[in-house]
Every structure is written in structure tokens, then in C-alpha cells.
Amino acid sequence: MRKPYVQRQRADWWLRNPAYRRYMLREATALPLFLYSLLLMSGLYQFTRGEAAFLAWLELLRSPWLLALHGMALAAALYHAVTWIALVPKILVIDSDRLRVSPATVKRAHQLGAVTCNAGLLLLALLLLRAAGGN
């Protein structure tokens, strides 16, 4: 008689091959970024409590653990950006009778956008610091 054997997905399915492991690493970049966003929110909160509280929070950031978190969050953000931009040409396909944009162009545009936004924000931050330092 018929008795199909149902194969349940194993909890460690992602350990099975390198492609799955890379995928989980990509998804795992959410974790450091999540922790980093918690950190930023705590900083925002300290800011509302006044200058002393905020300066104390800034001092805390110099601790080795939090420096490490910063490093990991940056690495995670970069890895995510790189893997995301690699996938964008598959997702955003502009190929119709009226308009056609090559996958290479889509990728370049995102790379350019990413660099511009980050460089721009960095520049803005530096300018604000200079302005603040001038007072």
C-alpha cells in the first residue's frame, strides 16, 4: 500500500552546503545592525536627558565591546550592500518595448547611488562637526 515518507526539514538544513551557509550569513547581517540600531536609540534617549548624559553615552562608545560592535555593524552593512547590489539586476529588470536598461547599468547606478549617499552623508557629518567645532 501507499505510505509516502514525509521528510521534515532539519533544523540544521543550512549547514548542509556552502550556498546555504552564505545565505544565512547574509541574512545574519541583520543581527549586528539590529543591535546597532538599539544602541543608537539608547543614545537618542540619553540625548533627551541632557548634555551630561549624552557625553557619558559617547564615552561609553569608546569601550572595546562597543567599538567591536561598530566594526561588526559596518562589516555587516557593507556585506549586505555588496550582496544586495549584486542581486538588484535580477530584481529590477527594465526591458520593455518602450524602455530598456541593461543589467550592468542597473548595477552601476546602484553602486553609484550607494557611494554617493554614503560619501555625501559623511561629508555632511564632517561639515556639521566643523561648524559645531567653530562655536
Partner: protein, 251 residues
């Protein structure tokens, strides 16, 4: 003394076994021996009770999907010569599907998903064949050509962890087939198929693992099909929302 290679095959006989088990065979090796050839040799000369699906032997019918050393492959297009270094080869039924018997999977869920997405040319107005073919340029055909190469082998479903987690997910094959028609310039049914793309078990169950496209023997690139579908779904959502806000409820 002929060169031999060890082929381990997962067995499962529903009338006798509670769970799958592994059986080991020695098969005479040759340079162009495929896994399918090995399985046929085993069945003919060693154990006739081994059941496996196959037909065309040229990777076009899609029957012979199995896991070879934990990777989804077509047994007719996978060769023992590529596994010499690894020593032994283990063959079992596709992941993520129930096992019917030995290497035969129950793929009825996959077939149902294929049938769900309305995979036929939808026209608002049919014209008579006497009026000739619908025109379509080679450029227009290129837009859906890759998505139309699917041989329904199911390897992508075996590779997809989201389908493994939830068999209700329409999956790469069905969604690529939906897109094959959506992108066909002769088709006018994208609006009707949107309900399948939009669903939770449609494109939104996909997290772009990408393994489906890696294992596809026909370079269909179902991951691209699904994720382009997300853009289409987003646009559809936005347009509907806009219409609702304008008071033009299209529901």
C-alpha cells in the same frame, strides 16, 4: 579486474519499511557512466527491487531528479567521473518532497502549484487562426525565453529551503512559469495571475536564497522570475492603494 565505484542508494519500501535506509552497491566504472546508467545497471544486474524514474536520458523530460551527494541533480546528466575524488556517491530521493518509494518522490504538490498559476496564454479577445500568427519579434521572445525552458524536474523545489519549510509556497518552478506567460508579449493575463504572485505563498515567501537558480539544469533562473514578480506585486499594490484612496475601489 574492472574498476569499480561504490554507489550508496537510499531505499524505502512503504509496505516493509518504517523509514528510509541505505544500501550500498559496487558498479563497474567507465568514463561516460551516468548516475542513471549506474542505477539501471543496479536494477538489471543486482537488485531489481530498486525503483527510480527516468525516460529520455537527455535531460529534457525532467523525470530523473535525485539528490547526489546532497545536491539536486538529474541522474541522466550527472556522471560518476565527477565523483571519483570523493570516492563514494550517495543517491537519494529529492529533498522537500515526500518519498513515495526508493528514489521516487511524490511531486503532486509541485504539479498542483504549476496548475494553480493559470499557465496558459490568456487573451482578452481570441482571434481566429485563419488570421495568422500573433506577431512576436525575436527581442520580444527573448524576454520570456529563459522562463519557458523549465522541464518541470523539481530540482529547484528540492533546493529551496522556503519550500522545505512550507510546501504551500508556490515555489520557483510555478512562479517562473507564471512569469513566462506574464512576460510573453502575446499574453494579456498578468492581472489575473497577480493574485498568485501577490499571495503570502506567492512571491512573498521567497527570501532570495538563490539556490533554485543555481541547481536549475536549464538555466531558467527562477529566482529572477520570482523577485521580478515582487516588483510587479509592489506596483500592483501601489496602484490598487492609489485607486482605493481616490475612491475607485476595484475590489
Amino acid at each position: 579486474m574492472t574498476d569499480k565505484v561504490t554507489v550508496r542508494v537510499q531505499r524505502y519500501r512503504p509496505e516493509e519499511d518504517a523509514a528510509p535506509w541505505e544500501q550500498s552497491f559496487e558498479v563497474p566504472y567507465s568514463e561516460d557512466l551516468s548516475i542513471l546508467d549506474a542505477l539501471n545497471q543496479i536494477k538489471d544486474q543486482q537488485d531489481p527491487t530498486l525503483s527510480h524514474r527516468w525516460s529520455c536520458r537527455m535531460a529534457i523530460c525532467g523525470s530523473c531528479g535525485v539528490m547526489v551527494n546532497n545536491e539536486p541533480k538529474l541522474s541522466c546528466k550527472t556522471f560518476l567521473r565527477d565523483y571519483r575524488e570523493q570516492g563514494a556517491v550517495t543517491v537519494r530521493a529529492l529533498d522537500n518532497f515526500p518519498i513515495e518509494r526508493d528514489l521516487v518522490s511524490d511531486i503532486s504538490g509541485f504539479i498542483d502549484h504549476l496548475e494553480t498559476v493559470q499557465p496558459w496564454l490568456i487573451r482578452e479577445q481570441e482571434t481566429a487562426v485563419s488570421e495568422g500568427a500573433y506577431p512576436q519579434t525575436p527581442e520580444q521572445m527573448q524576454r520570456y525565453a529563459a522562463f519557458g525552458q523549465c522541464i518541470n524536474c523539481g530540482l529547484c523545489y528540492a533546493a529551496c529551503p522556503q519550500f522545505g519549510r512550507d510546501p504551500a509556497f508556490l515555489g520557483p518552478g510555478a512562479l517562473a512559469l507564471a512569469q513566462r506567460y506574464n512576460l510573453d508579449s502575446r499574453d494579456q493575463g498578468a492581472a489575473q495571475r497577480m493574485q498568485w504572485l501577490n499571495a503570502e505563498e506567492g512571491v512573498w515567501s521567497c527570501t532570495f536564497v538563490g539556490s533554485c537558480s543555481e541547481v536549475c539544469p536549464k538555466d531558467v533562473d527562477p529566482a529572477a522570475a520570482i523577485n521580478r514578480g515582487k516588483v510587479a506585486s509592489d506596483i500592483n499594490y501601489a496602484v490598487n492603494l492609489f485607486n482605493i484612496l481616490r475612491g475607485k475601489d476595484d475590489a
